[in-house]
Symmetry: C5
Subunit: 308 residues, 5 copies
């Protein structure tokens, strides 16, 4: 994810190269420019500059299209931000779980503290992989002997991690470390793990309904194709840059919407899942008072703008 | 549901044939074209091209109509997405219920594990049918002997499944497998089953208020009928394609809204309820450690774009 | 409530007569037509057709008014849909209460089952009346001897029903049918009864702030009164139908908003509270295994489009 | 708060005098009229009617301003309605608390019933004063001897009332009237008291960010000042009423937004906090079976449109 | 944060100097004026005033840009207000925690009351620093000997404070001051502390996606640069002030959005975190009946408009 000081306009330009979608947009705008140039050339050659154009009608269609694109933008952004909010909840609930367990576990119970800190830290790391290219097992903490190996047999890794955590609670209850009421206080945070996982899967699996997407793409395409004909009588060769400006605006909104609505990729606009996972790991270990290797701990401070 | 890589515009076109609503839209646009051709022909024949037209006023009406259609689009999409979110909650709560039960049931209690896995898996399958053409009893798992047969006597199948689950909890409480506090932790997820069912019934049974729907349909119809008269003085025979473009935009937004707002059909924009149900079944069985027949398990991996 | 297949435009027209608000709208549009005819007649007679008109400014005012009406539409619809969602929650919570009680009550405890089924069924029926013209006591179930008579002494009937239910829970707790933890699981659904009642009272008692309502009504009135003067120079006698079209659009949005925002009437756009109440009664009796008289049970299947 | 039958346009006019903000608006519109008259007079005198005006650009600025005002309107209304919803929650939670306490307290425990009914009734009355001009102690019920006097020593009265209620719960627990589980069921409603109080304080203390408010006020001012110059070439002396119409629209939206966003005043658009408090008092006493003096009880039926 | 009586337009102007962003805006508007003057000068000099301009197209682009800026404004304001709402929740939950603890702790248990009041008061003070320039340890209360010193060793101070509070609950449970059920009632408020902290971190760390920000900045820049060319043919030298008005509108919305979306700075639009923290401290001490030094207590009454 690109992080930037939003009030600095010059710095914003410097990040330009990092954004794939902006570059693809500029490429498409160039193609539209070429098209506009061909149209203009033909019209000029055959001397038909006095096309009758109803600019009011064209403008009405444009405003209607703008409203549709505003709708598109809102839905895409809502998904982006819902994704961010979900990972924020993951942070909160992992911290709260760690706080509850820390306060209840005896201060010198290193075995349980270490097991729980590692188990909890694995959840966001596994979810990160699960939402992207597949769980990266080599990144997980070995909570106990053979832990990662057993996990590799499983279809849905986040569910299994959640189940292992719940098994640990039941075991601590039998060992009378936890009281029955702790099941209830822990539950509010424990259930959030799978809720976040399921909601992220939903965002990933459900793009905007196909009909809307197709309909808007079709509308944008036709609108851009007719644009030069509406501008030619006024601007002649200036039609080319002005069509490009219009195409920049319309294609830009549409394309950014397409990209933003799945925030779980590795593009420059996507969420810094790996950094958030590392930060959770560092927090959980600190709260539970478990040592974490210096190399791993410092990963929590990698800025969000680094993609890895 | 059609799933597509939204940044690929060419692939989007390929799905065109699969969308009933887009085809119906194109048919209606053709009818509008015919109407515009007749109007144009008559006007040209009687040589009345110099109609006085107040294009500003027409444009103002068009923008007002666009705002209404934006409202329509938002309400329709909200229902679509609320439906999707509800089924996402169903996934989360079934998994969380399975996790809680798994951690508490003795590892070797196959009878209860199997019964609960099947019972829980039946809920989304029954709800899927309940929201569409009626429960398809042959798709349900036989949780115990005569299970499906007894269920066929019932008016509201999801309520009964929820009640059977609650009965199982009370039985496990009497058998001291569960503690009283487990009633509270299980409850948070158990109640979600009927909440989701009721909310889906609400979405299905409550279209946008009739007055709005009628009002917008009336407005769109009148607006399209007057469109050729506003364009004739500028475009003559070009009026026909341009009217069709305008009709495409207006009818399209209205019709897609109508279709999207009930997401529980079997159209290409509707939600993949069957796949989600199968996925829940596979997850729940895996979490509870209950074998699932290979044929059934693989149904969970059928892509969302297959309708069945 | 009118229920319709929203993709069928012809059927939509057939329901026209059922909608009071649409008929009132058409009547007002006729009055505007008369006004426009008088204005046009006077202007034509005194030969002042060349009024100077700044159509851009008029169009800007119209767009601003459209944005206000979009705001009006959104707030009105939000209330309508919040009302619907609240009654959906009533359905869910009554079912969930019934499920919890059913699983805990001994299967043969007919007395308690009957009492609770009737008590619970009475809540939505009483709330329906409370929100409309007053509780219709003859529609309530006699939960025990003198039940309805005692209820008639009460100022706020829904509160009393909720209190009777809570008394029943405390009694069952003393009789050791319920465990203390059941108080907690039942509570989540029991509290929803009065929450829904209070929220419906709020929707009913709080229209959009008077200033907005007055301001928009004033703006619409002035705008429609000036409309003929803006159209006369272009359209002469065509001004009359075109003014009527504009008035249809503006008045329509405003009037439908006024009507929709209180969804607890008996108009064709209002919510089918009676049917929902009957459906809850049938569900609750089925879940608790209590017989319901055939005549009463079938009321649950009356389609939403019947008003009673 | 003015309550009105929103479909009756004539009645709406009758309330006009009651609304301070509408009167202030009309006064400001008159000043704008005076300004427009001076501008018109000067321009006519010096014979400069042929000002060049780019009406498209002016119209674009106007639409942009309209969008900003739509944003302003939405945020203001959201606060108004959030305030209303919060007081609705207060109603619900007071009723639910009363229901829970009623069902648990012995029917003949008049002392506790009276104390709790009065204590609970005092909360909304104190909050009403706290949000307006300060707590009106003479309006509070004397829950026990010296109650009100002790309360007058306190800085934050709602917190103290909430604490007294919680103390009562702990006392009833020690007296074994309540079970430990009742702490949990009561808590869900008890916590809502301070949540509502805090949220109302937030709405009161946080207007829309100063930058937006200033920015919009500046934009509206400049836009209205330039308006006559844009209209003069078309309308000459008609510029004056038309400028006033434009100013009515722009100032009206801005000023109503300013007024609505703090709903805790005593203006005609503000919330009927006093009536809601009286209604809660009547409900709570009825539920707990405590007598309430006839004079006080009937206050609950004072219509919302009376300000006191 | 600037607090103002929003209906007073003159007072609003007086605050102008306090707002950095408004001053920066005015500076940029002056630069645009300079640019417009240069363009106008060159065009006048070379006598090319009759530029062909398609004002409709320019106006359509402007409206589309306005819709994007409306989207920008909404997202920025949502973050501002979410930040405010989160700190409001902090107030509510600290008060509710204090109420629960007060009612349970023996009235004369000064040691625990003092420790808990100070610990709780430290949370918002630490979070304030954590969100801005780093925790200001000298502002914290010494809850017990060496308290602040130990805290300085910690990476994530809010987590540690939350953990200390939870440890205190477990200790009070062991000392039988609290019952097990109190863990559940306290938990609802205790968990909110870290939830608020995490959500504030999220708002701070996640600006609007870079693509949108860049895209809108680019669009605004190009639009303003072309503005003089669209106005020159009508206005000649008046182009300069009119371009500045347009730039004021467009830049203003964009820049205020940038500034508002991170509400945790020390600018005049930012949230009064320090005052809210002081107010929580005063409330918590009063509820728990713990003395607070007069100097510290009066900090709670510093008006929000003082920045410190």
């Amino acid at each position: 994810m690109i992080v930037y000081k939003s009030t600095d306009w010059v710095e914003a330009l410097r990040h330009l190269r990092a954004s794939d979608i902006i570059r693809l947009l500029l490429k498409r705008v160039l193609w539209v420019g070429l098209y506009a140039a061909v149209v203009t050339g033909l019209v000029v050659k055959y001397d038909k500059l006095n096309l009758a154009v109803d600019k009011e009608f064209f403008s009405f269609l444009g405003i209607m299209l703008s409203l549709l694109l505003a709708f598109r933008t809102n839905t895409a952004y809502d998904r982006f931000y819902e994704g961010r909010r979900l990972w924020g909840q993951l942070v909160n609930n992992c911290r709260n779980l760690a706080v509850l367990l820390h306060a209840r576990l005896p201060a010198n119970d290193h075995a349980n503290r270490t097991y729980l800190a590692r188990l909890l830290s694995n959840f966001p790391i596994a979810l990160d992989g699960h939402l992207r290219q597949g769980v990266r097992f080599e990144k997980l903490e070995e909570a106990d002997a053979g832990f990662v190996e057993r996990l590799q047999q499983v279809q849905h890794v986040p569910s299994r991690l959640s189940a292992l955590l719940q098994e640990a609670f039941e075991r601590l209850l039998r060992e009378e470390v936890l009281l029955p009421n702790h099941l209830i206080t822990l539950q509010r945070h424990h259930e959030a793990l799978l809720d976040v996982a399921g909601a992220c899967e939903r965002i990933k699996a459900t793009p905007i309904p196909f009909s809307y997407s197709y309909f808007i793409k079709g509308f944008v395409t036709v609108f851009i194709l007719t644009m030069p004909f509406n501008l030619l009588d006024t601007y002649e060769w200036l039609t080319v840059p002005i069509t490009m400006l219009g195409a920049y605006a319309l294609l830009g909104v549409e394309m950014i919407g397409d990209e933003i609505e799945d925030p779980f990729g590795k593009d420059s606009n996507d969420l810094p899942l790996t950094q958030i996972s590392n930060r959770i790991r560092a927090n959980v270990h600190e709260i539970l008072g478990v040592e974490l290797h210096e190399d791993v701990r410092t990963l929590a401070d990698v800025p969000y703008s680094v993609v890895f």
